[in-house]
């Protein structure tokens, strides 16, 4: 479907982006019936809701329907890949690289994985061992009210499959790189990742999102954590400046499992990270922290839904954002504590620093509690840099731009410092520093 056709569809109310399913023909990987059924359900769910508009409550701050029109990447001519980036994408790790949603084995590095640990392409796994995916693929993520995740499901084709068997602890991160590359035609792609940690397993997985040109990366990550499993899951959203980034991450935690999430947004013109976590077993702990830096007209949306369905669970979300120029930030965090989820301990906090009058932050933390013995709290603040801090630094000879930068970096560093893996902390802090350098350069 051409760009103008996509726009025409949007105007007539029929949801865009489904036509390419027919055009793609046999190019989506074939699989067993359950896979066709899953794609069909994705298609139906997306067709029923369509591309979200601002009338859709969960998307009311983020006008993704106005982001432009895109051709499915498989139907567009291939684009050159930005070769300037380091081959390790900033992190020493096992690495699976996708370009426009398709795994590229020649860019990946998976040697030396411990016995029994799988880091593989999803298409490859669908072709050779689909039964390994069946227990969880499409099973963690609900499609209701998740139209873009449903669209991803309709096009489910490739991505990363990470499986860590019972009791295995990975000692270095697994990195999933999603590289977007668009030529003249804006392209859309739908990476689909599945991370499974069996009982007692532990791993650090880093998603790195980079690219160049006008592309729409619509990612879904499903995470299934077994009894006592621990996943540290970091995401660097450093998409190209023209990119649209929409991601849904669905996590299910069994008893005593722990999920440590971190998202850092430094890229994309429009970005949304949505986490849906289910505390399914007693004593599970879900942390989802985030930081974002945005200038120009960029838009960053973080939307979280934590469902405490079992007792003694805990959840923590701390988000901090820095917004300059006419940038806009959104925080929507909802914690649901179901009736059986006694002794739940849940907190969420959103803090934004506005560096200019044109910047804007919308924060909506929500609690819905049906259990009576819980400890829950939330807060949201928006402010400027502390003038007392600035005066103190300047009073010691530090110039104003440097003083501002030191305070902004410190504000964001708190979030990154909380992540368990030191190599990830270092890489992410480095990216924040580079963003601030670029921002200072642009302001000059």
């Amino acid at each position: 479907m051409s760009t103008s056709e996509a726009l025409a569809k949007a105007d007539t109310g029929a949801p865009p982006y489904l036509d390419a399913l027919a055009d793609l023909g046999g190019r989506l990987p074939h699989g067993p019936d359950w896979l066709d059924d899953l794609r069909g359900r994705g298609r139906a769910a997306y067709a029923a809701e369509g591309l979200p508009t601002r009338k859709t409550e969960a998307w009311k701050y983020t006008a993704v329907a106005k982001a432009g029109a895109f051709t499915h990447a498989e139907l567009a001519p291939p684009a050159a890949i930005d070769g300037a980036r380091g081959a390790d994408f900033g992190l020493e790790s096992w690495r699976l690289v996708l370009v426009n949603g398709r795994v590229r084995p020649e860019m990946s590095a998976l040697e030396g994985l411990p016995e029994g640990v799988t880091v593989a392409g999803l298409a490859d796994t669908l072709a050779h061992a689909p039964e390994r995916l069946r227990p969880h693929l499409g099973g963690v993520l609900g499609l209701e009210a998740m139209p873009l995740a449903a669209l991803n499901t309709a096009y489910l084709g490739d991505g990363a499959f990470v499986h860590v068997p019972r009791g295995v602890v990975l000692d270095r991160p697994v990195q999933i790189v999603s590289l977007g590359a668009a030529g003249e035609a804006p392209v859309m792609f739908h990476p689909r990742h599945l991370l499974v940690l069996e009982d007692g397993a532990a791993a650090t997985v880093v998603e790195t999102h980079v690219g160049g040109g006008r592309y729409f990366a619509n990612t879904v990550t499903e995470v299934a954590l077994g009894h006592g499993a621990r996943l540290a899951h970091a995401k660097m959203q450093d998409e190209g400046p023209e990119a649209v980034h929409v991601a849904a991450c669905a996590v299910r935690l069994a008893e005593n499992a722990a999920y440590d999430g971190l998202v850092l947004h430094t890229g994309a013109r429009l970005a949304r990270h949505e986490l849906r976590a289910e505390i399914a077993g007693p004593g599970a702990a879900c942390t989802m922290n985030g930081a974002f830096l945005a200038d120009g007209n960029r838009h960053v949306d973080n939307t979280l839904f934590i469902d405490h369905a079992a007792p003694n669970g805990s959840s923590r979300q701390v988000f901090r954002g820095v917004l300059d120029d006419a940038a806009r930030g959104v925080y929507q965090g909802k914690v649901l504590v179901e009736r059986p989820a006694q002794k739940t301990d849940a907190h969420q906090l959103s803090r934004a620093l506005l560096l200019s009058r044109g910047a804007e932050m919308d924060a909506k933390p929500e609690l819905e509690i049906y259990a009576d013995d819980v400890k829950c709290g939330h807060g949201a603040t928006t402010g400027e840099l502390d003038t007392a801090h600035l005066f103190y630094l300047r009073g010691r000879g530090v110039d104003l731009p440097t003083a501002r930068r030191m305070l902004v970096e410190a504000f964001i560093a708190d979030i990154i410092d909380a992540f368990p893996d030191a190599t990830v902390r270092e890489a992410f802090a480095g990216r924040v520093g580079a963003w601030l350098d670029g921002h200072a350069e642009a302001a000059r």
Binding site: D386, T387, A388, H389, F391, Y392, L393, R394, G395, R396, G397, V398, D399, L400, T402, A403, M406, L407, E409, A410, F411, A413, D414
Partner: protein
Amino acid sequence: MALLEIKNLHANVDGTEILKGINLVVEPGEVHAVMGPNGSGKSTLSYVLAGREGYEVTAGEVLYKGTNLLEMAPEERAREGVFLAFQYPVEIPGVGTMTFLRTAVNAVRKHRGLPEYDAMQFLKVVREKAKALNIPDEMLKRAVNTGFSGGEKKRAEALQAALLDPAMMILDETDSGLDIDALRLVAESFDAMRDAQRSMLVITHYQRILHYLVPDKVHVLARGQIMRSGGKELAEELEAKGYAEFVGEAA
């Protein structure tokens, strides 16, 4: 030439006039005490000299080394040698003390045409100065003033002064929140910095810091004006009689 010359200085805070015509001349190498009751304008004077936002000068002028101090940004004043030791140093979570100190010291050195320190050189310089102030390495590893006790904060201020080598030091109620031992340590470290070129303005409510940092001149600041000036014996007189006679006078 006087190091600091304050002429008929008037200043407002939130539209209220706090300083109502201050006149004060500090020669190089002199230590002046500015004493006064609470609310007399002591802290306002120190903030106006350091260039804090929200302190509006409505009349008068301040010459520092013969140039107009009030036109300079706070960082320019600091680089030119004006140093305010804060009454309540702010905690700045997330900004490492060493990073802050090195950024500040190198900014000042660069301005003065001195070579900047690299991280290793700087560590050596800081450790040496820190030792004299009983500042352990552990304190230097924390964020700026974060979690410091009152005494630790004042010692950190003294360390910054020692590192930045200012010409005009303004010590704003340095004695507040300090026990006797900490006060002696901090005051003696400032006293050790006295030399023929460096001047100090010691702003205080109480006389006790002046036992360790004996002033050349003492001024009484009340209701926004210097009411009386004298030698060090004036401080003792105030300690004995209090500020009643100055507070009581009609405006």
